[in-house]
Symmetry: C2
Subunit: 136 residues, 2 copies
DNA sequence: CTGTTTCACTTTATTTATGAAAGGAGTTAA
DNA sequence: TTAACTCCTTTCATAAATAAAGTGAAACAG
């Protein structure tokens, strides 16, 4: 399905997705149109789901980065899920997991106050374990 | 430091970082060169750390997506950190955390076999708790 | 009030990249 | 051998990026 060149393309685009097709072509030893066709194919196949930027959260005022393991008390998760939908400004990722909890949340907050407010609100729907990111 | 237009730019580029400067300009009501200058500034300031792609790991043969909370037994973390460096093909993110463990690993594996091999090797340096991602 | 500086933006013109079309090389199968 | 297919390169018209020059508004000193 994917050959070595495709993997090389994914690797290069992961590092820098704003390369021009010409530059990308040089890196993987193809011409612009050839690499452009391969990238289009990878998009169609759903291998490339999208193009994004890495934002430094600290520099936009979100200094606190945490992972929250959520353990819902009730088997009925809907109130929790509805609550999460209202908190999109804080949530980077939300996973359903099997293991130590039901969900894993990755969030950022400008300060401990917002984190605390969030945890108080979350606690109405679920228990949690908090892990604060010190370094990446 | 960041005004409303900058936030709008970050928002649009998060959705699609391959927009042309002209298209991005239209979205935020600026001309191409103007928005290009702002993006360059955001890069210099370190707000934009890089441009990347979202890859569908399942489609490239990495079907298992896990989070591993690592609890090192010894206070000397170097052997663990050296081990992690040898496992880059599996590791998406690696965080130092405060809370329920010392580190949080986000990894993908083609199958349970590779995951098991990884856990056996990891267990020589640290204890762990495993959370398997069911859905995002 | 006037002149100067600064800043962010627009406009213009040149360079550069994109994307469509045509064609060639290698592979496979009839 | 020939046909069909895939994947690539080359070529060229179109579109975008970028550099440079110019505009206008705000801040500020004389």
């Amino acid at each position: 399905m994917l050959d070595q060149t495709d993997r090389h393309i994914l690797d290069e685009l992961s590092r820098n997705s704003r390369l021009t097709m010409k530059e990308l072509g040089e890196k993987v030893h193809l011409t612009g149109p050839a690499v452009s066709a391969r990238v289009a194919k990878l998009e169609e196949q759903g291998v490339i789901e999208g193009y994004s930027i890495k934002v430094n959260h600290a520099k936009i005022g979100c200094l606190i980065h945490v992972f929250i393991t959520v353990i819902t008390q009730s088997t009925y998760h809907q109130p929790y899920l509805s609550f999460i939908k209202t908190q999109e400004q804080h949530i980077i990722n939300h996973y359903k997991i099997s293991g130590d909890g039901c969900y894993l949340l990755e969030c950022t907050f400008p300060s401990n106050k917002e984190l605390n407010d969030f945890l108080i609100a979350l606690n109405e729907h679920a228990n949690y374990k908090l892990s604060i990111v010190i370094d990446k």
